[in-house]
């Protein structure tokens, strides 16, 4: 089972990654990740599935499409085909801050130590680098900064509103 980081600890992946589903042939057994299009097109089949179904989004996909069924997904993943494509950061904030999603939000793909902190700030709480050897780096990267100026999902109050608090 591939390794990943969830809520600060290293765990093994329990879901199967599915590229496309065909309800006529039945869904794979066990927990699965399905693409957004499959989720939307075969919604009933997904709901009828006996195990959890997570939905993954590509960088260009609009998270608003998930809004009507947000309560029904078991988890959401956002794909980072290339780490320098930063669209997924905005996707995460929209899901968390605008649409009020509270379940697992996973960053998947070309991510590692040097993205982990930013990803965690915008709303990701699980991290699955395509390259498993990066898992240890992700855990380190989460500690890169102890604080920041901005209002983020992880720290809604910007520093200027917390200036007077004692550390």
């Amino acid at each position: 089972m591939p390794k990943l980081v969830r809520r600060g600890i290293e765990v093994e992946e329990q879901f199967t990654w599915v590229d496309e589903i065909n309800p006529a042939e039945g869904l794979p057994t066990g927990a699965i990740w399905v693409p957004l299009v499959s989720w939307l097109n075969h919604h009933a089949a997904c709901l009828a599935h006996s195990a959890p179904v997570g939905v993954y989004l590509q960088p260009e996909e609009d998270p608003a499409l998930l809004l009507p069924t947000l309560q029904q997904v078991s988890a959401i993943a956002v794909c980072f085909p290339a780490f320098h494509d930063g669209r997924g950061y905005s996707t995460a904030r929209l899901l968390r801050e605008r649409y009020g999603y509270t379940g697992e939000l996973r960053a998947v793909g070309d991510i590692g130590q040097d993205q982990a902190y930013y990803l965690a700030q915008v709303g990701f709480d699980s991290f699955a680098p395509h390259d498993e050897t990066r898992v240890a780096g992700v855990l380190r990267g989460l500690q890169d900064f102890s604080d920041g100026y901005q209002s983020t999902w992880a720290r809604p109050l910007p520093y200027f509103l917390r200036r007077h608090e004692k550390p």
């Binding site: 930063g86 669209r87 905005s90 040097d114 900064f145 910007p158 520093y159 200027f160």
Partner: protein
Amino acid sequence: MYQYDEFDRRVVRERVAQFRDQTRRFLAGELSEDEFRVLRLQNGLYIQRHAPMLRVAIPYGVLSSRQLRELAGIARDFDRGYGHFTTRQNIQFNWVELPKVPDILERLAEVDLHAIQTSGNCIRNTTTDVFAGVAADEFVDPRPWCEIIRQWSTLHPEFAFLPRKFKIAVAGSAQDRAATFVHDIGLHMQRNAAGEIGFKVIVGGGLGRTPMIGDVVREFLPAPHLLTYLDAVLRVYNRFGRRDNKYKARIKILVKAMTVAAFAAKVEEEWAHLKDGPATLTAEEIQRVAQAFVVPQYETFTQPDAAFQTALTEVPAFARWVKRNTHLHKQQGYRAAILSLKATGQAPGDLDADRMEKVAEWAQQWSFGEIRVSHEQNLVLPHVAERDLFTLWQAADAVGLAHPNAGLLTDIICCPGGDFCSLANAKSIPVAEAIQHRFADLDYLFDLGDIALNISGCMNACGHHHVGNIGVLGVDKNGEEWYQITLGGHQGPDASLGKVIGPSFARAAMPDVIEKIIQVYVERREPEERFLDTFRRIGIDVFKERVYAKAS
């Protein structure tokens, strides 16, 4: 000046530690060249023709004497004893060694300087009017707002991986000395009828391959909403800006593709959700930052300084320098003094460590310990009493920093070009030098008056050639260096982009070509008319005819 507190320092220190580890992993082979490139660029580190280049941020162009001394020390200890001031009010060191960069960053951090986001596809150093806070024609001091933007943009987690670089400029006076119309976002400080401070927001200007003048997307943004609105603009850009083609990835392309109205509507829609959220600025925070820019303890001068007046009449060279290189000040009896880094024979914007230290000392003595870097690549001492100008001038003249050419034809804005930059099509420094040699006669230069000549070594336009009254662009013609000329560019409230005059020229021909252009101006100008105004009145054809006339 804004003073870092413990929090500001901690952010910078943690960034240095992060970069030290990234460098270590790269050198150990744990990070690939491609991975490291993006990371090092976000820390201002380029790999150039001869060596890596480190670009250090000078937030909105403001430096203390202590900081300038440290820059001098770094130039000496890690470079070849000099630095290059850029058109974005930063400084570059052209000869650093990669493994030593973390040490340089640590030295910078000791004086509250850093290289965060000085390159890469992220929000860059915010720039402003070099005379911010002192200009006589200013209605709101832009510096506190620049500092607020600096903090907001520093390591903003949502916007570290934008489609392309992103530059913000803020102007606080009608003159717009910050070129806000050619930035990704330009902010014009305003007061509404009720006297409240706010911003006119201009989006989508830029130079480079597709130069464009920005469009107004919001006439008045009340100041407390600055950050939520910037978040909205950046989010729309981050999500919808093109990423398939780096030449079409700037926000200007998105704005044009969507149309300004649709883009503005999209931003408003996004902003509706963010408005009044936690990032809304409080009166207390605005006050806290503004207080950092305290007015120095100026002396009160009730009448003109007699010795200054005498020197003006008795020493023509001094009078000339005062006329060209000092700027009117809010405070009676004070001036902002421009130290020209454009003497003939030196690369525009370059300054050696010894003279950096001298400038730091003069600032301490005569300018409340403060120095500014102008986007014309000169240094400015922002608060010099008229009484002290003569002594300053003598000191500056003794080390070649009193060249009285601010704003004149030889005050050339010039990118590092083919001598350093690996992207260059052509060298730019030797062209600047040849032109400076041709126009060495100061009386003649004075008579010509304000002419902005800007040179870039390639389409990336770091030398802002599109907004030079005379713009020079290095082009590659079958492996040879040629130069294309544009006329009529201008930065300011009535900004315009230069028009190409015609086929390009070989380097050797450049001084002659510039001379012909100047001749047309001299023949056709009306009394007191600037080059730009003559050009706007008579058009490009007259210039074209002269420049391309066959020798008879």
